[in-house]
Subunit: 344 residues, 4 copies
């Protein structure tokens, strides 16, 4: 069985494991105060062209989303998200567990647009009973989205502008950020993301690390006491160096982007193979997740040799499925898959 | 200005104030342990044909909804509600503030149907990632709904059946319960409500009391320690007798239903007047709230003499407005309004 | 049975009931936006010599404490309180239910001192692991305290100074504020309280009203969106006028202080009677609660005719008990009690 | 600088890193559903003599404590803990952030006794105002405690008995469980702990793993839906196998106990060296943490070559300090330290 079902089926990129070996007996202070964390922070600030950013390392995505959002909102405020947003669907109500509503706006492809942010904001403030309703307090987007789609620079600039004009901090969930940034369709750089967002995170778990997410805090007003929040939410790893070492490795010489490019190239090969056979796609993804719509018997056929995710039923006889690639995906496996697609 | 904008523009029914006068110098114990509360509980148990019910008195509706729901759910569970449900829209995220998501199902008229409950339940448990999603833990409905519509006995029985088959406690928000029960279209009795729900409340604030809501707990499994919850959520009135005295007055000889009938009769007269002039209605309400769709110039004209609520825009030139009646609505004011409608 | 067990055994001062009668049929807007609320706010601002204060009306004390504290603190912060503070002991964990720890400092008589605030603040910030601990975020005191004791102006000024120097908002719980301010031992005025606190509340429930607490927000930085918080926490009464009417009556011509003086005078008569018989007191209270230490057989004897609270065991054969007076306490009942004390 | 400041200054035991290497390219399912997790669960059930236990893997201690406690308590309940308990002091209010109060009982050495549990339970239920107070809902202990002390089997049996008689689930925080179980003074086995507790966790982070804690759920009534709780609290690692692989390694052939014995032996050597020089100890620890009371000049002298924690001031001229050992502590470093102590 060759697995394409998600981008966390293996351990970590070899260089990360090597570095963990090399540093294993070093004695360091705990909780993210060690030298590896400091170096990783410096590399990330440079990569973001953001010398004043605060950089924090957390363990996982749900934890990171929860910690950031709970840190920013006042109790009567909610976070605006696409209906498809990870926080709205797949975190077992972690945001609500911190007391906050997720205010959803409709989305077909996982993205939201600037005008939607403006509309939900205006709808709130124009309602005479607005004190009886949850106040929009910040905006959450993911890039790439849960559906593999990406924002253009113009789109992100428009959202950022609406947010800043209306006092809504903008938080970008970058669980798969690398895959988005290297996409050929995406004209955003890491520095653009840093410039346009108030806070975002650079995902490690799904981009080559064993685990770990790097929060980049751009807005000074949000920086205060964030480490208390990390500790309270269970995200302050005793051996914080493990996170520092991993991000140091990913960002010291561009490994993070190399890994991302590898995965996206393979994903686009798979995409091309399905497209050549005339299959269409549920989302127009140019990143490491591909969502072909396949006849159910073909799903069954391919399923004998490959694992992939069932996403949703498309109609009575077709399904949307998801193929993922990652740092660990082997080119020969993709080539075998492509041959099998062609042979369908 | 004659006010039809809501059903809480005046104080309380005269008999309630009289009783507060008469009892003012009585010395009683606090926190709902006094004799008036005991009598009121007995009257309500009788009216509900529910001798084993626990009856608790709280101050307001948002508080009651929050206290009941927070008492029932475990942390990873949410409450199923219509998108239009008061808890989903108009309580400033009070439910989320207790850590729980409101899981909404679409509704055009404020009601939900049994199959929707079944569908959201099955969708959760059939999803392979259900542990990553909020688990439906109970169901919230309002009767009459926020739109004045009512459930039939058959509909409520069907919802109750689905809930019981799937272990979902059913909670009915009866902020305006009296108006629903006396509606000519509604074949439900208070005893039916008690029989079919696990917990519900009988609204006082909008049905003749100064304030106050009576929670009726039917399901033994939900009864434990509810008074702790009331205290924690700020609903345990020091002078709890004030609630006891009011519900005693409302339920000792049927005043609650007299008040409700009065309001609904007047509302139906208003409805008839609009209907005769050919206006249609946003919701098919047979209770004390009426939602005619009016040309904006007529809204403006009527607005000079009467206050009513703007509900929403119907189209470029029409609006949905709301006229409410209550225990306090004067027949002569309604007659004047009707004349003015006829003269439009 | 003559009741001295607490200060909420009766309804409300006669003038309040009269005013509720007179205004019963007035039609007003809801949720505290009516003219009675506005007038009450104006009277309170004048009484506090605080023309820019925000004044909000809530229903009960636990609700008020919870709403104020949850509105001020960030998630990682706690509220400093005496171990005896109402929020630390008698609110069923309402503060913790909003996510915040109550950071207690020891107190023998219900009061805390400025140096204790400074010490807990310094202890936090001097601890190298302070990010692993709850950060002191504000200070809660009650005046008079739960034990009937009062702060002097010098003491409150000292606490206020420490709070302001260290960025800790000071919140004063005035559930029985009137009784404290009229005490002969207390040199504080309402204007002093307003000047020295960031936010406080004027208790109505225990000082002549049916119910109701008036929050006075002095610190501009804390004012924003407080009405959302009231709604979310279930404290926004639909018929908000009921609170406005009551506080209007209490503050239009000094009734609040007349009521307070009446109760305190009677309490001091009771105190004197016990003192004359040689009994000592658990707390040195000069307000409406008195805590004599009595032999258990005398408790039993007095208990046949009077109700009062058992506070705690003093030793094997003695108990601390509490006698309360209020607006409703009758002079003749106090005189009868005094005779019976003398006859012991 | 030789570090004795805590037991998480290095990476992980060599065999764990080796196993991560070996398994790195294996493709597994996520979120703890893989074969390594299954094997680790089986080893742990065997080690606990608990074939029906549920075993879950989380990342860190604060997260584990929070998840377990929030899963068990109802909203009006609190968790009983020693004043020194980690949840009471060093988790930035994580428990309160889930809505629950930590109900502390005094402790000199980190332990609590059965009679204290009984007393706080009885005090609650015997108080007539108990509905106004947080209800004790479970008991938290740590073994070994934060001070290195351990419970005897008799003590734990007594606590367990009181808990079971009064319906209080007993939760044991085993962040350093191995060090406690191998202590010569401790007559408890892992199977005893499993038999006497309702839920406990086996700490990995401080006993040789990179990170990870294994929750063992013994009480069937507490098992339901715990994975939802893990996900909501951010503890469900995408690459859950990392936890499985580590605990598999630790428990397949007793490595966990070998590591623990190594550390405790070295700690006892350090203890003996201080004792021989006549120094006394703050706590009577027989585990991997030692708390000698040293003159400040000696602290300064030793501090030039060794790092250790300042615990607290003992008096004007003496301090309590902490020396920790771990799987990673080198015998030669301990021998050097002992020589230096002897030479003082």
């Amino acid at each position: 069985m060759i697995r394409f079902e998600n981008d966390y089926t293996e351990g970590a990129h070899k260089r990360i494991l090597e570095r963990l070996w090399e540093t294993n007996e070093e004695q360091t202070s705990g909780y993210g105060t060690d030298e590896h964390c400091e170096k990783a922070r410096a590399y990330i600030r440079t990569a973001c062209d953001a010398p004043n950013a605060d950089v924090h390392f957390l363990v996982g995505g749900t934890q990171t989303n929860t910690t950031v959002i709970a840190s920013i909102l006042r109790p009567h405020q909610g976070v605006v998200s696409a209906t498809t947003g990870h926080i709205a669907v797949h975190e077992t109500g972690a945001i609500e567990a911190t007391g906050h509503k997720v205010l959803t706006v409709p989305s077909e492809d996982g993205k939201i647009q600037a005008h939607q942010v403006k509309e939900i904001y205006d709808a709130h403030w124009n309602d005479v009973t607005h004190e009886h309703m949850v106040q929009p307090g910040m905006v959450y987007i993911s890039h790439p989205t849960e559906n593999g789609t990406t924002y253009t620079k113009a789109e992100l600039e428009a959202i950022s502008k609406v947010c800043r004009e209306n006092g809504l901090p903008l938080f970008l969930d970058g669980a798969r950020l690398g895959y988005g940034l290297v996409s050929e369709e995406c004209d955003l750089t890491l520095a653009d993301v840093a410039r346009l967002c108030d806070v975002f995170y650079i995902g490690g778990t799904k981009v080559g690390a064993l685990f770990g997410e790097a929060v980049v805090m751009m807005n000074d007003a949000l920086k205060k006491d964030f480490r208390y929040m990390i500790k309270q939410r269970g995200g302050m790893l005793a051996k914080g160096r493990l996170l520092g070492i991993q991000f140091e490795t990913l960002f010291e010489d561009g490994l993070y982007f190399d890994i991302s490019r590898h995965a996206v190239q393979l994903a686009m090969m798979i995409r091309a193979a399905f497209a050549e056979k005339g299959f269409s796609f549920r989302y127009d993804s140019t990143t490491n997740q591909q969502f072909p719509i396949l006849p159910d018997e073909i799903c069954k056929e391919l399923g004998k040799k490959y694992s992939f995710s069932h996403w949703e039923k498309a109609d009575e006889t077709h399904s949307v499925v998801r193929f993922c690639t990652s740092w660990a995906t082997k080119r020969e496996n993709v080539e075998t898959l492509i041959e099998d697609i062609r042979a369908l």
